[in-house]
């Protein structure tokens, strides 16, 4: 049985269909890159997995159980923006994840437990290269450092699934490369299941073990929102780079065109 099972999921807002008939199995430990043109439902799919929205039709199973209908500690997330809490220092941003589940009444730990949580957070921050900025506030960090912090914050929870919504979309190309390296290392260490939405096709190739292309199959010129997107290509990446390149070369021009311009 697959780790994540997506069973005929539809997402509709009023008469606007965003996703239609999504069927998908994802194994534990896979790194899926979700690509597609703007507005074709990649982020919607991520929100469904996160529990931020519920599918209009169909079902998503996690380990055979229906997915909890609200965000919880089993799923970590990094957004493009607003991923870190502006009023907490770097260290507290990460330590918060250790404090909240253990202190349902006050939301904070004291004494020995607090020191332990902070030490654990500091160790993880060291791992992502933020050990020099523990006492800074997020607004004092660069964009890349903020995303490092957001990743550390998500990982301290030891989630089973990490959801990334264009996490590096706002970063410079050089910094983006560093982030790719960091993310790959962390993924190899933790072996968690990662789903990443990206606009950047090459980013999907560099990182993913599997590429999922979202696209609309049906078009009604009179009602552009009548049909939703499906997963049109599902390409395994890590097996054979050569075969992958051929598979990508075989993608129809309109898909790759749109991805490049997006």
């Amino acid at each position: 049985m697959s780790f994540i099972q997506v069973r005929n999921v539809w997402q509709e807002y009023g008469d606007q269909t965003v996703l239609e008939g999504l069927r998908l199995n994802i194994e534990e430990g896979e790194f899926c890159a979700l690509v597609g043109a703007s507005g074709c439902g990649k982020s919607t799919f991520l929100r469904l997995l996160l529990g931020q929205e519920r599918p209009s039709r169909g079902q998503i199973l996690l380990d055979g159980q229906p997915l909890a209908a609200e965000p919880d500690a089993s799923r970590g997330v990094v957004f493009q923006r607003y991923s870190v809490l502006p009023h907490l220092s770097v260290l507290d941003n990460v330590a918060l994840g250790l404090e909240l589940p253990r202190a349902p009444l006050l939301g904070r730990l004291f004494g020995h437990a607090k020191a332990e949580a902070r030490a654990q957070a500091a160790a993880l921050l060291h791992r992502v290269g933020l050990d020099h900025a523990l006492d800074k506030y997020p607004s004092q960090l660069s964009g890349g450092m903020q995303q490092r912090l957001a990743i550390a914050q998500a990982l301290i929870m030891k989630p089973r699934m990490l959801l990334l919504d264009e996490p590096f979309g706002a970063l410079d190309p050089g910094i983006r490369k560093d982030m790719h390296a960091l993310l790959l290392e962390l993924w190899q260490e933790t072996r968690l299941t990662v789903l990443m939405v990206t606009h950047d096709l090459s980013e999907g190739f560099t990182l993913g073990t599997r590429l999922l292309v979202f696209d609309k199959v049906r078009h009604d010129p009179q009602a552009p929102s009548a049909y939703g997107a499906r997963i049109t290509y599902d390409i395994p990446l890590n097996l054979d780079r050569h075969a992958t390149r051929e598979a990508v070369a075989a993608l129809p021009a309109h898909v790759t065109e749109r991805l490049k311009t997006a």
Partner: protein
């Protein structure tokens, strides 16, 4: 160079800031001197010496009848009412705004109510307050509370809704329940906003305070001003008004400094 691109230099900045105050002062002194030269009994524009005498009389010598220093008694009475009113309004406004802005179930009922209640002119229900709460301290404090709580609550509600939904989701993935989410994520981000809302509400709070004291009180800055008005005692009224202005400005400045000192992350913008 176009006017829009001209900025005052460092030394000019101070001079330009002082200029309007200096002009007003000069205009007053000239007007006062002219009127007093015309008629030494004139009470409308007292001279600086007359005002200093009045301050001496009110603040630094005992009142012959009560044996008290009226100016300081008035100040203490007014500040006590204002402080209580502001404190209660801050707590009530923060709680209402937080509930309404964070929890959709509460907001659906609270939000329209707050909107309507904030439209009631507080001074129009001042008689009601006097009837319900009596003529002593409680009704005056209540006027301030009723006057500014809805404004603060609506501001806080708005700010709570402006917190990016990503942050609320993130906190839930970090294991927060509704209570700890409010306690550790929403509330800390709203506290600096509360101080700013208080700063903006200060003007109205003073207005309601003076109005309540003018109508029914036996002490207080507003009471004194309206009392000596009967004798056209401008030499008392003007120093009192200046004192009120100074107090209000100090509170405004204090709140601003407090916001910066207590929430260093706030000034740097949002992450």
């Amino acid at each position: 160079m176009r006017l829009i691109n001209r900025k005052p230099g460092r030394s000019w900045r101070i001079s330009l800031a002082i200029l309007p105050f200096a002009l007003l002062l000069i205009a007053y002194l000239a007007g006062s001197a002219a009127r007093l030269a015309d008629n030494p009994q004139d009470k409308l524009l007292p001279s600086v010496v007359q005002m200093a005498d009045a301050v001496e009389r009110m603040a630094f010598s005992e009142d012959p009848r009560s044996g008290r220093y009226l100016f300081w008694d008035d100040t203490a009475a007014s500040l006590k009412r204002l402080g209580m009113g502001l404190a209660i309004a801050a707590v009530a406004g923060l709680s209402l705004g937080l509930l309404s802005g964070t929890l959709p179930l509460f907001g659906t009922s609270l939000s329209p109510l707050l909107t309507v209640v904030s439209m009631i002119p507080p001074l129009a229900i001042l008689p009601v307050l006097f009837i319900v709460f009596g003529l002593d301290e409680l009704s005056k404090v209540m006027l301030i509370v009723i006057g500014i709580t809805p404004v603060i609550a609506r501001d806080i509600e708005q700010r709570a809704r402006e917190i990016p939904v990503e942050l609320l989701i993130k906190a839930q993935t970090l294991g927060a329940n509704t209570w700890t989410l409010i306690l550790r994520v929403v509330l800390p981000q709203l506290l600096p906003r509360l101080l700013i809302a208080l700063q903006l509400a200060l003007g109205s709070a003073w207005l309601f305070l003076i109005a309540a004291e003018a109508i029914a009180a036996t002490d207080g800055l507003g009471y004194r001003i309206f009392l000596v008005r009967r004798y056209l005692a401008m030499d008392v009224i003007l120093p009192y008004v200046a004192w009120i202005t100074l107090l209000a400005w100090l509170m405004d400045y204090g709140l601003k400094r407090l916001t910066r000192a207590a929430f260093p992350w706030y000034d740097g913008g949002r992450a």
